[in-house]
Structures are given as structure tokens and as C-alpha cells.
């Protein structure tokens, strides 16, 4: 035997999979998450290219076609694939434009509650004597109120508009972030690497944002995904109650609400927006599950 076997042991570190690849392996292991991601991608694309994709302007009224059923059912017309609503607006176009609003509200609500939530949570974890309990008691009070009621109260005070909807949802979901960040920051604070950083002379700012925060990101990302879907739900609920986005803007919740009177005569005006909300929220929650599988080492391959 004269063949020389080339071993790769000389440089083992080069063969580590990149973090991104490892993440995708964990994520794609969960098939539901991948399906959810595909659906969400379609929704996002539809929202981004709404003017190109939507067949009609969402506020144009076609008075000759009021309450036209979807094209596949009896009396439907191919002109309006998913039918029209009570004043003759194309339902498909309204759903597509509605996805813009829903995603926008969801995203901005998540961002506007996550950033202060992270800050408050870190402060609460780093200053456990006075500031921490003070912050957490305020959060407890916020959690003691039913979240939808609190959101309605905020919108009632500020007045119904899209911006105020976002603010209301952000305020309502703030305690969740604060608690989560505080809890994981407190676990991380007891680890030796934090002490090591402090021995090396790291100040409170560096400790908070450079040393500890990146290690709290995994549960935070999962929570942000989940609360993205609940923000969409809350926005729809506020819209349904007439406290959210105001007509004639197409918003899923508001569409449901205005179609309520026709529920017996025209099933599609209620069902289709409802189904859209359901599917989007489901897709995002599935993605959240997949993210948890990929990011949380404790649950990895457990199921």
C-alpha cells in the first residue's frame, strides 16, 4: 500500500459550518416553518408590488357589480376574481393593499416596542436594586390590564389613526419584551464571561450592549416574530372595532367590520379577509416555531 491518504486534520477549524448555514439547517428541519416562510414571502411580495399585482385600485367603486360573488361560484364574474364588497370594490385588490397596511403596522409595532423593551429590560437586569423593581412594577401594572382593552383606551385617547394604532399595539406589547430581556439578561449576567469582561474593565454600556445583549437575541427574535403576528391580530381587532385604520383605506380588520352586515347574504366579504388574517398569522407563528428550533439549543431536535 503506497497510497498516501490525505487527512484534513491539519486545519480543522476551516471545516466548521458557517453560522448562517447551521441556522438554515435547523430552520429547514421544521417543514411547517418553511411552508410558513413561503406563504409570508408571497404576502410580502404582494404587499411590495401591490400596484403591479392588484387588478384594480382598492378604493374604486364599481356600482354595477356590488356584492359580486367570487369567480368560481354561481353568479361570479371573471372580472373580479374574489368578488366585490358592498359598494363594488374589488376584494382581491383590497386584500392585497390590506397586506401592506397589516405588515407595516406589524413591523413598526414590533420595532417600536422591541427597542424600548430591550433598553428597559437591560436596565432592569443591570440595576436590580431600585431601577429594576420600579420598571418591573410598571410593567406588571400594564400586564394586569387586558391588552386589547388597554389598546382601545390608548386609541380612544389619541384618536383613531394608523399611527395611533401602532403606538397602542407597541405599548401593549412592551411588557413582554421587557420581561423577556430582563430574564435572559439576568441569566447571562451570572455567567463567567460577564465577570471576565468586567475584570477586563468593561463599563456598564459595553457590558449591556456588547457583552450581554447578543446572547439574549435568540429568544428575543422568536418573541418578536410571535408578537409580529399578534400585532397584526390586534390591528385587525382595532380595525374591526372601528378604532384602527379609517376607511376608505383597505385594512383586513376594517374590511371584516364593514362586511359584518352582509354576513348572511355574501359569505365571501367576511370569509376572505378573515381567512387572510388567519393564514398570515398562522404562517408567522410557524416561522416563529422554526426560528425557535434553529436558535434555541435546548429544544434542538428534541421533538
Amino acid at each position: 500500500m503506497t497510497t498516501h491518504v490525505q487527512t484534513s486534520a491539519d486545519d480543522p477549524a476551516l471545516h466548521y459550518p458557517s453560522p448562517l448555514k447551521e441556522f438554515w439547517q435547523g430552520f429547514s428541519y421544521n417543514r411547517g416553518a418553511v411552508i410558513g416562510l413561503c406563504f409570508l414571502l408571497i404576502v410580502v411580495l404582494a404587499a411590495l408590488f401591490a400596484p403591479l399585482v392588484a387588478p384594480y385600485n382598492p378604493v374604486d367603486q364599481y356600482r354595477d357589480y356590488m356584492l359580486t360573488p367570487p369567480s368560481w361560484s354561481e353568479g361570479g364574474s371573471l372580472k373580479f376574481l374574489l368578488g366585490t364588497d358592498e359598494i363594488g370594490r374589488d376584494l382581491l385588490s383590497r386584500l392585497i393593499y390590506g397586506s401592506r397596511l397589516s405588515l407595516l403596522i406589524g413591523l413598526s409595532a414590533v420595532v417600536t416596542s422591541m427597542l424600548p423593551g430591550i433598553l428597559l429590560g437591560l436596565l432592569a437586569a443591570f440595576y436590580p436594586k431600585l431601577l429594576g423593581p420600579a420598571i418591573m412594577r410598571v410593567m406588571d401594572v400594564m400586564m394586569a390590564l387586558p391588552s386589547l382593552l388597554l389598546a382601545i383606551a390608548i386609541v380612544a385617547i389619541l384618536g383613531p389613526s394608523m399611527l395611533n394604532t401602532i403606538i397602542a399595539i407597541a405599548v401593549v406589547s412592551l411588557p413582554g419584551y421587557t420581561r423577556l430581556v430582563r430574564a435572559s439578561a439576568m441569566t447571562e449576567l451570572n455567567r463567567d464571561y460577564v465577570t471576565a469582561a468586567r475584570v477586563a474593565g468593561a463599563g456598564p454600556m459595553r457590558l449591556m450592549f456588547v457583552t450581554v445583549l447578543p446572547n439574549c437575541m435568540a429568544p428575543l427574535i422568536v418573541h418578536a416574530t410571535m408578537s409580529f403576528s399578534s400585532a397584526i391580530l390586534d390591528a385587525a381587532a382595532l380595525g374591526f372595532l372601528g378604532m384602527g385604520v379609517q376607511p376608505p383605506l383597505a385594512e383586513w380588520g376594517a374590511m371584516l367590520s364593514s362586511a359584518r352586515d352582509y354576513i348572511e347574504r355574501a359569505w365571501w366579504v367576511v370569509t376572505l379577509p378573515g381567512l387572510t388574517i388567519l393564514l398570515s398569522v398562522l404562517a408567522i407563528n410557524l416561522i416563529g416555531d422554526g426560528l425557535r428550533d434553529a436558535l434555541d439549543p435546548k429544544l434542538k431536535r428534541a421533538a
Binding site: Y16, Y193, A196, V199, G201, A202, G203
Partner: protein
């Protein structure tokens, strides 16, 4: 003048009427280039002492001391900003569990370079070169490619080497090793210990070795302080203490080393546990567990007395064992 001088240090936890002294009346001095061992079982205040010295207790415990001096600077009166500058550069620490001592979010190289950037103001190629040199100094194979690996991709021994590299990055004057080998398996333990001692000699650092493994101390340290329930119960040079322990606790520690019990005899143990907040004895802290305790031990607390061989906190030091 010693590099580190601690006089009468106490660390008190809890509210005032009955605070719990985690460390009580501790004296310790460490010279440049010296290896000092601190031994004692769990909960005897070894780590708390070091944390207090570096000011890392964050107002959780109250620190009282007559003197707390490092390299001629009084650590008690420094502002936290000044203290960070001194402590970060001249004092380093190695921890027990290498798996949690490195930040899981960053690559090994980034973490080493971060220390160098902040304290030595290195940049660019010089920075990378120094990090690589450090990795090679702690004998990490394939150092160049390991710079870009994450802590979870390294084994325990490898992580501990990286932690050591980070600790010596700024050429500290004092290195504190808090049970550096406890979490490692035996063969790696020996390697890490000899690496530590080599580096200590190379840089002429002072090394404080916190451990409950007396065998480790016996091999490398010059002086040893034995702690029990927050007090130094015995202090002296290593050969003396190992040959003639003065304090019954030291004697008990020594006889519980596995190598000492020959054949199939049961390992010697000391009954009971370190006293806590509510069962702290009035007299000698060891009295409830001490095989030699008499009435005086139970009512009166002994001071640290100096003897020719060293110092011990006992009314009846084991000066002449046979005479007992």
C-alpha cells in the same frame, strides 16, 4: 513592597443587625512573580475575596478593610472608572468553567482582539499578529484558523487555553486563577497547570491560585493560605504546611487527599459542612467539626497567631502532634 496587600478585609452580606461575614479579617500579601495558593472547601470565601478585591461585588456586599493596595494604589478609594483602568490592565482572571468563560456570541479571535484594542490600543495587522502570537503562546494548534471559530466549537481544554490567552493579553502583573482545572479532565489539568506556571515564569506575573485541590498547590505554589468559613485559618510556606500542618482543618484537608489513603481504606473525611448564616458558632468556627475541640474552642474565637512554621488560627496548634 508587595504587589498586592490586603489587611483585615471583611465582606459582609445582608442587612445590618446580623450581616453574614463571607470574609472576615483576611490578611494576604502577594509579591511580584510569586505563586500563592488559596485553598478551602466550597463556601469558604475564596472567590468572594478576589471579587471584593477587584471591586466586582456591586454593592451586594459591604467591603471593609484596613488596607487594600495593589501596585501602590489604594483600591478602596478609587472611582470605578479609575479602578477599571487598573484592574482591567494589570489584573486578570481565569475561571473554573471554560465553557461559560467565553462569550458565545463572538469568535475567539474577536474576543482576544477586543481586549487588545481597548487596553493596548493596537489596530490592524499588529492587532491580528498579537492575537495570533497569544494563541500560539497558549499552545493552541492551528491557531490561525481557530481565531475565527466560536467558543462552542472548541473543547473544554481548548476554551480554557483561549481564556488564558485573553487573561495574559495585556501582560498583567497579577493573574487570579479561580479553580482553573476543576472542570477539566485529568490529563488536560496537568497540561493547563504547567502552561500556567510557564507563562507565570515567562512574564514574571504574580499568580493567585484558588483551588480546593491541595495536590495542585503542592506542586506549584510557594505559599499557601487555607481558608475556612471566611477566615484564613493557616498561612505559611508550602513545604512547611504539607509537612507539619498547624491547624486541625489543614490536617483534615491533607488527609482527605485521595493519594494519602493507601489501599482499600475509606477516604478520610471531615464531618459536617461549613457553617452558614444561622449556625455560625460563637467560638472557633471549626469547633463543631474539629476532632480536638475542647470547651474553650466553643466559647472563644482564636486569633491568627504566628509560629515559627507559619501562622494558624487555633488555640491548640498541632505543633507537636505526638504530645496530644
Amino acid at each position: 513592597m508587595s504587589l498586592l496587600e490586603i489587611n483585615n478585609l471583611s465582606v459582609l452580606f445582608g442587612a445590618d443587625p446580623h450581616p453574614f461575614p463571607a470574609v472576615e479579617g483576611l490578611d494576604l500579601s502577594v509579591d511580584q512573580g510569586e505563586i500563592v495558593g488559596i485553598a478551602g472547601e466550597s463556601g469558604s470565601g475564596k472567590s468572594v475575596t478576589m471579587m471584593a478585591m477587584m471591586g466586582l461585588l456591586d454593592g451586594q456586599g459591604r467591603i471593609v478593610a484596613d488596607k487594600l493596595q495593589f501596585d501602590g494604589k489604594d483600591l478602596l478609594t478609587l472611582s470605578s472608572r479609575e479602578r477599571r483602568k487598573i484592574v482591567g490592565k494589570d489584573i486578570s482572571m481565569i475561571f473554573q468553567d471554560p465553557m461559560t468563560a467565553l462569550n458565545p456570541s463572538y469568535t475567539v479571535g474577536y474576543q482576544i482582539m477586543e481586549v487588545l484594542k481597548v487596553h493596548q490600543h493596537l489596530h490592524g495587522a499588529a492587532l491580528k499578529q498579537r492575537a495570533l502570537a497569544l494563541m500560539e503562546m497558549v499552545e493552541i494548534p492551528a491557531a490561525a484558523s481557530r481565531l475565527s471559530s466560536y467558543p462552542h466549537q472548541l473543547s473544554g481544554g481548548m476554551s480554557q487555553r483561549v481564556a488564558i490567552a485573553m487573561a495574559i493579553a495585556c501582560k498583567p502583573k497579577l493573574l487570579i486563577a479561580d479553580e482553573p482545572t476543576t472542570a477539566l479532565d485529568v490529563t488536560i489539568q496537568a497540561q493547563i497547570m504547567s502552561l500556567l506556571v510557564d507563562l507565570q515564569k515567562m512574564h514574571n506575573m504574580a499568580l493567585i491560585l484558588i483551588t480546593h485541590d491541595l495536590a495542585v498547590v503542592a506542586e506549584v505554589a510557594q505559599r499557601l493560605a487555607v481558608m475556612y468559613a471566611g477566615q484564613v485559618v493557616e498561612q505559611g510556606s508550602v513545604p512547611e504546611i504539607f509537612r507539619h500542618p498547624l491547624h486541625p482543618y489543614t490536617e483534615a484537608l491533607l488527609s482527605s487527599i485521595p493519594e494519602h489513603s493507601k489501599g482499600a481504606r475509606r477516604l478520610q473525611t471531615l464531618q459536617g459542612i461549613v457553617p452558614g448564616h444561622y449556625d455560625r458558632p460563637k467560638g472557633c468556627l471549626l469547633a463543631p467539626r474539629c476532632p480536638y475541640a475542647v470547651e474553650r474552642c466553643r466559647v472563644e474565637r482564636p486569633e491568627l497567631e504566628t509560629y515559627p512554621q507559619g501562622a494558624a488560627r487555633c488555640f491548640f496548634p498541632l505543633l507537636d502532634k505526638e504530645a496530644r
